[in-house]
Subunit: 253 residues, 2 copies
C-alpha cells in the first residue's frame, strides 16, 4: 500500500491474512512493515497469519502509514524460520529499505561482496542483498533520482527474473517500487470513494465515510483483494513506481 | 538478557517497563529485540512502555529467546520518533546486530563513510554505525574471534565514552557485549534457583518452579531489577561479554 496520507491497512490486511492459512495456502510465516516517517515497524512471524497474535494486534490497534509492505509465505526456498520471513529490511543511503518477493529464483546465486549479506537462507533475501549491492555499486554514496533508480531496478529485476519468478515490492518509505514477473494487480482508491467488499470474507467498508476527498491510496497485491472494484493487471516485465498513491513512473517490460 | 536456553523475559520486562513512564522517567519510547535463531523480533514504539499495546502483547504472549536487548528512552538527543527508538538493528557479516545505549555523547560526530548511515538523528545510532564501520574496517569480510572482537569493541567504546556517557549493549545473537561508562549491574541466575521479587512492583517469581537445573540466565540492567538478589555493579570502563548465561570475557577498564 502506498498513500498520500497515513492510512490504516486493517481492511486489506484482514482479507490478505486469511490467505495465510485459511482461504490461501501461504501458511509458512508472514510479515508486515509499516513506515512511520523514517522509522519502520517490522513485524514478522513464522506462524501462519491466521494463528498469529501479532496479526490480531494489527487488527485491534490500527497503525497508520503511507507505505506498507506485507507478505504471506509459502516456503519454497529456505526453512520455516523467523530469519526467512519477508519483508526484509536493510539500510541504504541512511534510509530503511523494505523488500518482499513472490515467486522463486533458486539458481540465482550472485557474487555478494560482503556489503549486504543474507541472514537467512532464502533466494529472496539473496536477491534483495544483490539489488542493494548493485545500487551502491552503480550510484556510490550519491543518492540517485527516482527515475534513475527505477531504471536501474528494472534492469536488475529483469536479470533476476531470468532465473525464475520474481514479483517483488521494494520501498524506501517514499516510493513503492513494484516489479511483475508473472502476476500482480493494483488499484487506486480516490475521490469519489465507494464501498469495497473483500474477496476472502464477507466484510465491506464504505471508504467515503472514512476518507477526505484529497486521500489517495494505491493497493498492490498478487490477486485482487476485493471483488467489487476494478483492479488493473500488471503486464509481465512491468516496473511501476507508486508515490503518494499514484503510479508516478511506469516502465513497461 | 543472555541465556543458555530460550527463556521468556516477562518477569524482568514487567519491572523494566514500569520505568518507562511509571516508576521511572524514561517515557519517550521503548523497544525490545528478541533473537530467535538468526532472526530478530524487533518491536519499537515511540509511546511510553506503560501505555503501549505492544508491551502488553509481550506480557500476554511470552517470547522465548536466548538473547534479548530492551531499552526505555528518555530523549536527550533526537526527537521522539520511531526511527530514534532503541534498540537499533543492522546486518554485519550476515548476522543481525542489535544495539542499545544509555547516556549521551552529543559531540561524537565520527566520519561515517557510507557503509552504515544513521536513519534517525540520535547520537546513539551514530555511535552504532561507527562501531560497525570500524568492525568492517578492522576485520574486513573475515569474521574475527570473540576475543578479538571484544578487544576491538572495548577500544571503540572507550573512544566514544570520551565524548560523554556510553553505557551500551550489543548482541549478534550469540554473545552479548556490555560496556559500562557510568552505571550497570548484572546478575547470573542459575541452580539452585530462588524466588525473585521485583523492585518496581510487588511481583515475585519462584524460578525454581519454572527452570531446569541446567538453565543459566544473565540479566544486565542499569539499576537492579529485583530487591532480594545480589546484583554485581560493573566498574567504569568494563567491557564484559556474556555467552550462554555466563560472563565469558571480562576486560576491566
Amino acid at each position: 500500500m502506498n498513500c498520500n496520507t497515513p492510512t490504516d491497512i486493517v481492511f486489506s490486511f484482514t482479507g490478505f491474512a486469511l490467505r495465510g492459512g485459511s482461504t490461501g495456502q501461504h501458511q509458512d510465516g508472514w510479515g508486515i512493515a509499516f513506515f512511520e516517517g523514517a522509522g519502520v515497524r517490522h513485524l514478522v512471524d513464522h506462524q501462519a497469519a491466521i494463528h498469529s497474535p501479532l496479526a490480531e494486534l494489527i487488527k485491534k490497534h490500527p497503525i497508520k502509514s503511507e507505505n506498507v509492505v506485507a507478505h504471506i509465505r509459502k516456503a519454497t526456498q529456505g526453512r520455516i524460520a523467523l530469519e526467512n520471513c519477508h519483508p526484509f529490511v536493510r539500510e541504504c543511503w541512511g534510509k530503511n529499505w523494505v523488500f518482499a518477493h513472490n515467486g522463486d529464483v533458486p539458481d540465482f546465486k550472485p557474487d555478494l561482496t560482503g556489503q549486504y549479506l543474507p541472514i537467512g537462507n532464502t533466494d529472496s533475501e539473496r536477491a534483495f542483498c544483490f539489488i542493494l549491492q548493485e545500487f551502491r555499486h552503480r550510484f556510490g554514496t550519491q543518492v540517485p533520482t527516482l527515475a534513475a533508480l527505477a531504471q536501474a531496478l528494472k534492469e536488475l529485476c529483469h536479470h533476476i527474473a531470468g532465473y525464475g519468478t520474481f514479483n517483488m515490492m521494494l520501498s524506501n518509505g517514499e516510493a513503492l517500487f513494484v516489479h511483475c514477473s508473472t502476476e500482480l494487480h493494483y488499484l487506486i482508491r480516490q475521490h469519489p470513494f465507494n464501498t469495497a467488499h473483500l474477496s476472502d470474507e464477507d466484510i465491506s467498508v464504505d471508504f467515503a465515510a472514512v476518507t477526505t476527498p484529497e486521500d489517495r491510496v494505491a493497493v498492490i497485491a498478487t490477486e485482487p483483494l476485493t471483488n467489487n472494484e476494478t483492479w488493473t493487471a500488471f503486464s509481465k516485465g512491468d516496473l511501476k513506481v507508486f508515490v503518494e498513491g499514484t503510479c508516478l513512473i511506469d516502465l513497461p517490460g
